[in-house]
């Protein structure tokens, strides 16, 4: 990319691929250059990454013990 600034739309596409771990070194480098220059894209990058982190850290649903026992009983009766 050597000095040539990417259009923001292309950068967002790259950001997405980087989030998906399909990045190449040149892709990371061009993203780095763009993010250093474009505050809006850098913000968007952070927001997307934070959002994905939030989804990934979402706790599993807790089921009260009595409900679990009732469910298991029903299942065993049906099997």
């Amino acid at each position: 990319m050597s000095g040539k600034r990417d259009p923001c739309t292309k950068v967002i596409q790259k950001t997405y691929m980087i989030l998906e771990e399909e990045r190449s070194e040149s892709m990371c480098e061009s993203l780095r250059i763009h993010l250093d220059e474009c505050e809006a894209c850098a913000k968007q990058y952070k927001i997307l990454e934070d959002l994905v982190s939030l989804c990934q850290g979402f706790p599993p649903e807790e089921i009260p013990e009595d409900q679990k026992q009732r469910m298991k009983k029903k299942l065993l009766a049906a099997l």
């Binding site: 989030l19 927001i47 982190s53 990934q56 599993p60 807790e62 089921i63």
Partner: protein
């Protein structure tokens, strides 16, 4: 690879994900290994279940009931429907477990059953066609090139608290669940499996019977939809 991205930017985006690896870009390796170990343990469980060991039934229920209920709640948006779906899913799981051949991990196999159960329910209740996401600006484009690059400048959510603190906020969690549940089926099923349940793009593609490239496009749209959804509830000025 992360080192290739500007240190300054990475520092701002590389926060630890609560309960998982540190930062999104570094995340995948730390997720993958435990899944493989878990899959081995699952296969042993299935063998025990086939041998009539009720302890195996119990272990499978205990391992998957929480994640499955979370998945189903985000799919249907209603906790009571989700519980009903959980019961149906487990019924199918235990009925057909004898046929499990280990071609997929037990987790993937179970989630495929859960997806089928949601699909069945959706078809029964379908009044609204499962079309494109409404309210998201570039709904009809298959290419991600049409994403508005500076959505943030229009008031995207800025997490004032760190993600770990947000996860402790029950109201925030409810908004996330509602946001996902409000998406059309084709998007919420992808974000649910990929981001919330941590399955790989390849696994999601196999479970849903769609191309990996389709998984990626739908995942990106779902993330933007959720971003918009949260933005509307946590609006802050730039």
């Amino acid at each position: 690879m992360v080192n290739k991205v500007s240190k300054r930017k990475v520092d701002t985006v590389g926060k630890a994900a609560p309960g998982r690896g540190k930062g999104l870009i570094r995340k995948k390796k730390s997720v993958k290994r435990p899944m493989e170990e878990g899959a081995r343990a699952d296969l042993e469980l299935v063998e025990r279940f086939r041998d009539g060991d009720l302890g195996a039934f119990d272990s499978i229920f205990e391992t998957y009931s929480g994640p499955l209920l979370g998945f189903l709640t985000r799919m249907c948006g209603d906790p009571e429907d989700a519980k009903e779906g959980l019961q149906d899913t487990f019924l199918s799981v235990f009925r057909y477990l004898k046929d499990f051949r280990g071609e997929a991990t037990l987790k993937n196999w179970i989630f495929k059953i859960a997806v089928n159960s949601c699909l069945k329910k959706k078809r029964k209740m379908e009044a609204v066609p499962c079309g494109e996401i409404e309210g998201i600006r570039r709904e009809n484009a298959e290419s991600e090139d049409s994403v508005h690059p500076h959505r943030v400048s229009e008031g995207s959510p800025e997490w004032k608290l760190d993600p770990e603190k947000l996860m402790l906020d029950g109201e925030f969690r409810r908004h996330m669940v509602q946001g996902v549940a409000s998406m059309p089926y084709i998007y919420k099923v992808v974000i649910n499996l990929r981001d919330f349940e941590g399955l790989s793009t390849q696994d999601v593609s196999r479970i849903l019977g769609i191309k990996e490239s389709t998984v990626k496009v739908r995942l990106h749209r779902a993330r933007l939809y959720l971003q918009d959804w949260l933005r509307n509830r946590y609006k802050v000025s730039d």
